[in-house]
Symmetry: C2
Subunit: 283 residues, 2 copies
């Protein structure tokens, strides 16, 4: 058994991410904030959240021995912004039409639909600005031209996970098709709608920490299985799982073990990732 | 007088951009296209358009002697995708609520609001994926590590122009404030809502072609004035200009001349940019 203290790790890292988000999107006086756009961005982004995706970026980098610095945290925060934008747009009346998110009224309920759409657009756009800024910062700190190339690959990984072949495709599928019934269909949808951004988080962390091909492949494989397992946990908590609870619990165990197996080539530095995966099962 | 043939230049370059867009977002059979997401992306992106923003990317690069190759065209197309996403979201019922765009029904009229929102999201996301891909392609072609850094700067420039300090801010302001009345207020809004993406187009072209600081500054200055002049032309054509027509025409001439003045340090390679600016006045 490992004596790695996940709760302490989560607390520290989450506080760093939260501090960065709050500081980087500064409060703007209302009269200098047309339509309360920035206020709407802050409202959704700074709502209490688990910050799971940026934590996975940091944990993937840590598996390769890379401690978080400012550019890496900025890249991690970029992944959280993509997640946050997707929640705002998902909650819109034309989409899931939700009134509550994380225990508070949804963005369009507070700021109106137009600003909710624009706040989502702005967060998505800012994510890529921050990834580029992280690259410029890391390049200035290291002078290593490889750093720019890595950040460019991170841009590609995040865009791919978030876009028409990943998360957005999953959202479109979720709207357009009847509720999936088979376990395979449930997991296929989860792999796109939720899993693609988890995979991207692992890939961003891996790429920025300079993973070799085998390491990168292993971390992405972890992310792929972790993402679908996470969706099972989410569905089980909501009790809206269309497959049987027993079947979903079994799959959760299998997927978590497969995710853990993907980490066999890493040493103790991968403990945060391992502990995050174990927690899916232990609750 | 220059004997540069703008119409021929536009025809050639526009055909290349159109071909790239059509080929890169390939037709997907409906049963493999959940919610008709890709069909919606193609519908808006391939509607006949002037392709002004990608042409400005290419013209800026050409001012520095850089002929368009596949990675540069891909980066130029990325700027067009950002423009296209903004039109789809701008037309939504919660925003401008428009039924027609470029002579055809708007995206939400054809595909529904949810898919229109997601198609916009996907185009914005894909723009950054393409910029990253352009960087990878250019890096493979040249082996020059500086190339990755330039593309990372292009990501930052496009995100900045498109986002919360640029285009999206302008859209939020357009929604939240009364119609501007003074010339200064009209131009202030135009600088954000329209101008910021024009500036970004020039900056992307300049950065990718390896502009020095003075060259980059000059090209961005051109874009800034060109963008506001363009908005005057647009408003004059719509006859919805709140300032007097005479005043707007005068400003159009001044802004165009200021844009042309910014190009004084460039040789004949800047003829496409100069001709594009002159055309604003000559119609």
């Amino acid at each position: 058994m490992s004596n790695f203290d996940l709760e302490s790790w989560l607390r520290t890292r989450r506080a760093e991410i939260d501090a960065l988000l709050a500081a980087r999107i500064a409060v703007v006086p209302t009269d200098a904030d047309p339509g309360r756009l920035v206020e709407a961005m802050r409202y959704s982004l700074l709502a209490p959240g688990k910050r799971l995706r940026p934590l996975l970026v940091l944990a993937a980098a840590e598996a390769l021995g890379r401690e978080p610095d400012e550019p890496l945290r900025l890249a991690a925060a970029a992944v959280e912004m993509v997640h946050c934008y997707s929640l705002i747009h998902d909650d819109l009346p034309a989409m899931d039409d939700d009134d509550l998110r994380r225990g508070q009224p949804t963005s369009h309920k507070v700021f109106g639909e137009a600003i909710a759409i624009l706040a989502g657009d702005a967060l998505l756009t800012l994510a890529f600005e921050w990834l580029a800024e992280a690259g410029a910062g890391a390049l200035a700190a290291t002078g290593d031209p490889l750093v720019a190339q890595r950040h460019l690959r991170a841009v590609a990984a995040l865009a791919k996970g978030a876009g028409m072949s990943g998360m957005v495709r999953g959202q479109a599928r979720d709207l357009g098709e009847p509720q999936p019934e088979s376990l395979q269909a449930v997991e296929g949808l989860a792999a796109e709608k939720t899993g693609a951004l988890f995979r991207a988080a692992l890939e961003v962390g891996a790429v920025l920490a300079g993973a070799g091909p085998a390491q990168e492949e292993a971390l992405v494989r972890f992310g792929k299985h972790y993402g679908v397992a996470f969706q099972h946990v989410d569905d089980l908590a909501d009790e809206d799982h269309v497959t049987t609870q027993t079947e979903a619990r079994q799959r959760l165990h299998v997927l978590t073990q497969t995710a853990l197996d993907a980490l066999s080539l890493f040493d103790r530095h991968a403990e945060p990732l391992r502990a995050l995966a174990r927690r899916l099962v232990d609750g």
